[in-house]
Symmetry: C2
Subunit: 437 residues, 2 copies
């Protein structure tokens, strides 16, 4: 019979078990961190009505979408977790308690051009806080606390959460007569880190911003100093624009509260260049960088938006949220050798029977499992050498070989595979469990 | 602006947070149970090349598939986790240790006719043990031990795992000259529970099975008694067919080892009517029923197959596996009120600041979170009544209200919302944690 080549689609991550164990650990750490902040879980379908999913989308997003018909129904795969959240909140408005704090971890789909480190199927790990009508600015300070706790739980110390406020930028542009161009300008400024000052100037010229105005913009985004100095300098600009002043006030309030949430000074800063490409952010915005690995780009981003679900409901639902793109993060950290898939098994112990009578080996395995110890029992009829090779290859930490002799003496040897040390012990699951935890 | 109705597709489960918490708990219990048996995690894409996914499929499955093109590529959504496993094992053969024991929990897609309790997107929770060339029969006995542990962890006691062996059926049909019809016959017998003996007889007549042969078949599948009596009766049939005898021998061996794995006698039985519809099962087969709720159908099924990945590789890869259809199970248990979504929050405690100065409330919240206590802090500027209403509505077990008075006295009151009891205590996260766990 002809064989089909067992291929996986390009741009779709599929890991070997040791990598999968590590990936799952990271996902679990993120989820646990989100839970300690009391966020509620939701799980929305991967497929939605195209009409619903694309109520707002346009441009690049729409081109990348996986869209198809089944029967007469026009369907699309979700490309983020924010649009499904908007649908969910609008749909279930009456059954939710506000502020509605939810987390969602799931796969999303974007048909991007295939290239290394770009995925078409990838996990997003999102949290959002949605207010009913209004949402106090202090919520904007809790999210950096979540980012801080989460990135620390992932094992990193040297990272910076960068904070800005879109109102400051919008107000500035309004005050210099560039309100119409503000989205375009912010998109360009957003690239400062990537392309440098000169290229930013050139791009601004290309969209017909006058040179003196460009200089003002550049001066502004190059405001330096400590967080408090930056805020002071913003105030000293004496820009009498209402939106600008509101933005500075919000930023100051957010910074104050981030400190109260206990985020250390060297893990966050104000960065006036950050705008976030998406134009639905209207206030606070965040990006997070590993300081020694800036090339990763932002590993956790988000911000405040005015109205989550305006495409579905008249209710005003302001919110603030963040997202970690776990698949890409995993790929990059792995590529940089910053994480190590060194666990090849989730078993704490393997029992290897070397006897016809499997009564005792099976009983012991089940007793250990009932104690919550991940336990394998080698069941194939092989020579001891082959069985030990399996245990070795999977690097299972402890091995117990049970032969007729062990059964007769009612004693077994618990072998620590790392140290080679052997401990003689009775057939007692609890005592064994104590030794291997 | 015109609003789009925030609809979710029919046949796609989308739960409110309290239901989602319960669903996630069940999923977690299943995963933890699979882990205690040392199964390794894998996570394959939801989208595959149609050529790969449909290498074998045909008939009903193919009609139900979500299939579409993106660019020039013919794509399909996975309809189970077994075909992706086959692809995975064939693709990664050289990097896996055999027997390869894997679990996978994920969504699969079938465009079934929409009806209550039928889902088009649903979670499957699978485990399989794959051998390289051969796989000892004792593995077929470990899976009922997994089923037993898992269903118990889900909170059920009164359930029966039914075991049979397809070789017994195949051998029987061969011995009565119905080898060609055996798959068709087994599909009909499989319906015995649903449609009854007379309807089975009629359907068998329709496919031209002679009446006396039908009687033999019915006599056979009606063999009754204890497990050991059934096996004895099978032996006493004196059918000298090699496949039949092999099947009886395997069944006897599996039963013996299920007992050694500690599965109680009243949680498993031999049921000679079970064949499982799918024709790729070649040996042991399983179904699991809640005895008081037979109408749920089998809640965990599976069996032994000769060759997992024959469409992708020349390697012979026999395996044995089981699957729990969690989405449908959740729906049915919920419908029967056998599970209760009574947790509306995952927070253990909520801190309610009633002061301008949020230093202490925020500090305490972060300290509790760092101790792993799921902690919310109410951040919107509302009256106490509105804040308490939020805590009440989400049924958060403990509440601490912090006002200026509390900050001055350095004492707070921890309120147990169930009993109404209040405990005065210092601002000490560890002491509070002790009280609420």
């Amino acid at each position: 019979m002809g064989k089909t080549e067992p291929r996986t689609l390009p741009g779709f991550m599929e890991l070997l078990p040791n990598e999968q164990i590590l990936f799952d650990q990271m996902k679990q750490k993120i989820e646990n961190s989100y839970k300690t902040f009391g966020f509620l879980p939701i799980d929305t379908p991967i497929i939605e009505f195209s009409e619903v999913l694309l109520a707002k989308a346009g441009g690049e997003t729409e081109k990348q979408i996986y869209r198809f018909t089944k029967g007469d129904t026009d369907l699309s795969l979700r490309f983020d977790l924010t649009v499904p959240l908007a649908k969910y909140v609008a749909k279930n408005y009456g059954n939710l308690s506000f502020p509605f704090r939810r987390y969602q971890i799931g796969k999303v789909y974007r048909g991007e051009r295939a290239q290394k480190g770009r995925y078409r199927e990838f996990y997003q790990c999102d949290i959002d806080i949605i207010g009913d009508g209004e949402l106090d600015i202090i919520n904007d300070a809790e999210l950096p606390a979540v980012i801080y706790s989460t990135i620390k739980k992932l094992g990193f110390e040297n990272f910076t959460i960068k904070i800005n406020n879109r109102k400051i930028l919008n107000g500035l542009y309004e005050s210099i007569g560039q309100k119409e161009n503000s989205v375009a300008i912010m998109r360009i400024i957003d690239k400062l880190d990537k392309i440098g000052e000169e290229a930013v100037k050139e791009e601004l010229l290309k969209i017909d911003i006058p040179t003196n105005t460009i200089n003002t913009i550049i001066e502004f985004i190059k405001i330096e100093g400590t967080i408090d100095e930056k805020i002071e300098k913003l105030k000293n600009l004496k820009i009498e624009n209402e939106i600008f002043l509101k933005g500075v006030e919000e930023l100051e309030e957010v910074v104050k509260n981030i400190r109260l949430f206990g985020v250390p000074e060297n893990n966050f800063t104000v960065d006036l260049t950050i705008a976030r490409g998406l134009d639905y952010y209207t206030g606070t915005v965040y990006e997070t960088f590993l300081n020694e690995y800036r090339e990763l780009g932002s590993i956790c981003s988000g911000g405040r938006y005015e109205n989550l679900a305006e495409n579905y409901t008249d209710k005003k639902l302001p919110g603030v949220g963040i997202s970690i793109g776990l698949t890409r993060l995993f790929f990059k950290l792995n590529e940089l050798n910053l994480i190590k898939a060194d666990k090849k098994s989730i078993s704490n112990i393997i029992i290897i029977p070397m006897t016809e009578n499997k009564t005792m080996p099976l009983k012991l395995a089940m007793e250990l499992r009932n104690l919550g110890i991940n336990t394998e029992i080698y069941l194939s009829d092989k020579k001891l050498k082959a069985k030990m090779k399996y245990a070795d290859k999977l690097e299972i930490p402890y091995v117990i070989v049970i032969g007729d002799n062990e059964i007769e003496c009612k004693k077994i040897k618990l072998k620590n595979m790392k140290t080679g040390e052997e401990t003689e012990i009775e057939f007692n699951a609890e005592k064994i469990a104590e030794l291997i935890i």
